[in-house]
């Protein structure tokens, strides 16, 4: 009996002892997270990597960068790390900023250290943007499937979509008249449907056109199944090879081919959250659907998404490095860790640092994201924590 320790007259104190501890969830999470030493190391490296990448993009871009990653010095090629440049052989502008080749030079005499700095930004943005896209798509799809899943798509919706897409295809193929007519018909039909629905309040299901055909949940989950059928790296490779090479295309492609896991997580969370009392209460108060989804349910479903996003960043960085390695990545002369390694592989016995420096860098960054993600998962999952 805890509250007997306090004198009953001191009501204030007794009440405080009874109320919940004044620690926020974030504090608790941090306390749990801190116990996992590997995860903390992961976090530290992650922050260091972030700083490196940001300073890298500042120091290596612009007209006259501090570290010039594209400066070719053919007389200084394939020098090992920590070599001092031969000052006599160089123009004053060609002398490396640090006065030393920290990571050596490559087969064109470019400073590997500045190239690594430039590449860090690519890895970082590819990881974050690709995962950002995949999380957005995944949360959207999973949220809709989980929240509106029981609602069905009726035959008339399908008809409207068919008419609209037929119109789009006609327009695309150049039959402007037919296409425009189809689009117009589709829009008018949709508007009429929406109008009828808002007037009667609840849509009445009568007649063959209002038959329930398929539920929203089924449609979205079948889409997930379809996406899972594609071998992912092969699909990414195909698309990247077909579209013009650029960093943004790679991010979009990686993002659009990796949202399925997130969608499944979010759907599963939403299915259980939807039945809980606080959602019913919010509905009873007349809160709108989207406010319920984003304000009330999403914060409760965010933990697994966060974990899978962290690990997704690791995977995206690896995928980008792999694409760069195969020559499909960010087009040269922009340096990425993958293409530094790929260029260096021809000199693997003469200049092993060209392989090892980018390789180890990728390894460390990916490892830190993995460790951080796993630590986060453990900290957020009390059941797993008790058992280990």
């Amino acid at each position: 009996m805890r509250n007997t320790q306090y004198p009953i007259t001191d009501t204030q104190q007794a009440l405080e002892a009874l109320s919940a501890p004044k620690k926020t969830r974030l504090h608790e999470l941090w306390a749990l997270f801190r116990e996992n030493r590997l995860a903390v190391i992961g976090l530290v490296i992650f922050v260091l990597f972030l700083l490196t990448a940001v300073s890298g993009v500042i120091l290596t871009s612009g007209q006259n960068p501090v570290f010039d990653p594209a400066m070719v010095r053919l007389q200084e090629k394939l020098l090992p790390p920590f070599t001092r440049p031969h000052l006599k052989a160089l123009q004053p502008a060609q002398v490396p900023t640090l006065g030393i080749y920290l990571f050596g030079t490559d087969n064109l005499g470019r400073d590997v250290f500045s190239r690594m700095l430039q590449g860090a930004w690519v890895s970082l943005t590819v990881g974050f943007v690709a995962v950002g896209i995949s999380v957005l798509v995944g949360v959207f799809m999973g949220g809709i499937a989980g929240y509106f899943g029981h609602e069905s798509i009726c035959l008339d919706h399908i008809l409207a979509i068919l008419v609209l897409s037929a119109g789009a295809i006609f327009l695309f193929m150049g039959w402007i008249g037919t296409g425009a007519a189809c689009m117009a018909a589709g829009f008018i039909y949709t508007a009429v449907c929406l109008f009828a629905r808002t007037r009667t309040g609840q849509a009445q299901r009568r007649g063959i056109f209002r038959m329930r055909a398929i539920s929203v949940d089924t449609v979205i989950m079948r889409m997930v199944d379809i996406m899972l059928c594609f071998p992912s790296f092969f699909l990414i490779l195909t698309v990247v090879a077909l579209v013009p090479a650029s960093m943004y295309n790679i991010m979009i492609v990686i993002g659009l081919t990796s949202w399925m896991g997130t969608a499944r997580f979010v759907r599963a969370e939403f299915l259980s959250l939807r039945e809980q009392d606080f959602v019913t209460a919010a509905k009873a108060l007349g809160v709108g659907n989207f406010r319920i989804i984003f304000r009330h349910m999403m914060p409760n479903a965010v933990a697994p998404v966060l974990v899978s996003a962290t690990i997704g960043i690791a995977t995206a960085i690896l995928t980008e490095a792999g694409l760069s390695f195969l020559g499909f990545g960010v087009p040269p002369p922009h340096a990425t860790w993958g293409n530094i390694l790929s260029d260096g592989k021809g000199f693997i016995f003469d200049a092993p640092w060209l392989t090892f420096i980018p390789g180890v860098a990728i390894l460390i960054v990916v490892l830190c994201f993995n460790l951080f993600g796993e630590g986060l998962r453990d900290a957020m999952n009390p059941k797993l924590r008790e058992r280990g």
Binding site: F234, L235, L237, T238, L341, I362
Partner: protein, 319 residues
């Protein structure tokens, strides 16, 4: 049971149809055309181009091309645009090359990850468990191509054996044993590389599954009644922990066609992955689409098999 089988077959056929449509659209709507792959080639005159387009139905609307393609695929008459050889024969040839890699890699994965995972679950929190955990993360995180070069340097400089390609040329005259060893050496590193990721992931999964079961009441009961630890671990706990892995047999199937692009290109291994990579470079649409289609079939078949296995193994699941 029968209704479940019928239902999932229908469902998977529909999924397969949509996969075929989507992959067809991705390939054909993307910018660039197969006839423009080599615009500087002097042999590629406009007349040739026209003949090429005529021959492969490239002038027809998309849906007609789609029907042509899948009709050819199902009758087995589909040919590669690059060298006019039958696509199915080409894939079969490359598949036979990739098969040893796949078999050895899968065997390595499944034989190594179980003992490792079980041991680290039993000695949870100990030095062994912690070092294995760290090693597993290391192996998950290491880029495959980087690891490949580390292994190549190691093996070539210490053991002095050839590792690139499928076999050493000009060994036909040497003895039978010599040729066998040559093949084994060539096979070993690519299969180890193919297996590393699998070993790391699977052993983690075995460990967590084993921990889950070890926390159950019946395991505590078994311990409490004084059974020797080996019996508790291997007879009571392990058997129940194995359940989810039975279903994973089905999920190996897609790996058959997967054939890692990166590893096969590093080792010049003439397998599936490399063929697909070359097909992408040459915009050889029939091969890309066929590989995609077969792998989708394998994924769907794999999930089907794993559902069935679960049904057979776990009496608690009814449909």
């Amino acid at each position: 049971m029968l209704s479940f089988i019928a239902r999932s077959i229908i469902q998977k056929t529909i999924t397969l149809f949509f996969v075929s449509v989507v992959s067809f659209l991705i390939i054909h709507l993307a910018p660039g055309e197969p006839s423009q792959v080599d615009p500087l080639n002097p042999k590629f005159t406009p007349e040739m181009l026209e003949r090429f387009r005529q021959e492969f139905h490239l002038n027809e609307p998309l849906y007609a091309q789609y029907i042509h393609f899948y009709k050819d695929l199902f009758t087995g008459r589909i040919v590669s645009w690059k060298d006019n050889r039958s696509v199915l024969a080409k894939i079969w040839e490359r598949f036979l090359n990739s098969l040893p890699l796949f078999v050895v890699g899968t065997l390595l994965t499944w034989t190594l990850s179980f003992p490792v995972g079980i041991r680290s679950a039993i000695y949870r929190g100990g030095l062994y468990d912690r070092s294995v955990t760290f090693l597993a993360y290391l192996l998950i995180s290491i880029p495959g191509f980087f690891f490949a070069y580390i292994l190549i340097i190691l093996v070539v400089t210490t053991l002095h054996v050839p590792v690139i390609g499928m076999e050493t040329f000009g060994l036909d005259t040497s003895s039978w044993g010599c040729m066998l060893m040559d093949r084994v050496w060539h096979l070993l590193i690519p299969s180890i590389l193919g297996a590393t990721g699998g070993i790391a992931v699977l052993s983690r999964y075995v460990r967590s599954q084993m921990l889950e079961v070890e926390g159950q009441d019946y395991v505590r009961t078994a311990k409490a009644k004084g059974l020797p630890p080996d019996v508790v671990h291997y007879k009571h706990a392990l058997r129940n922990a194995l359940l989810p892995f039975v279903t994973m047999f089905g999920l190996i199937l897609p790996g058959l066609i997967g054939g890692s692009v990166i590893i096969e290109s590093i080792f010049s291994w003439p397998g599936m992955g490399r063929m697909a990579y070359e097909a992408i470079l040459a915009r050889d649409y029939p091969i890309i689409l066929t590989v995609n289609f077969i792998s989708a079939v394998l994924v769907l078949a794999g999930t089907f098999v794993s559902d069935l296995l679960y049904l057979v193994v776990d009496p608690r699941i009814r449909l």
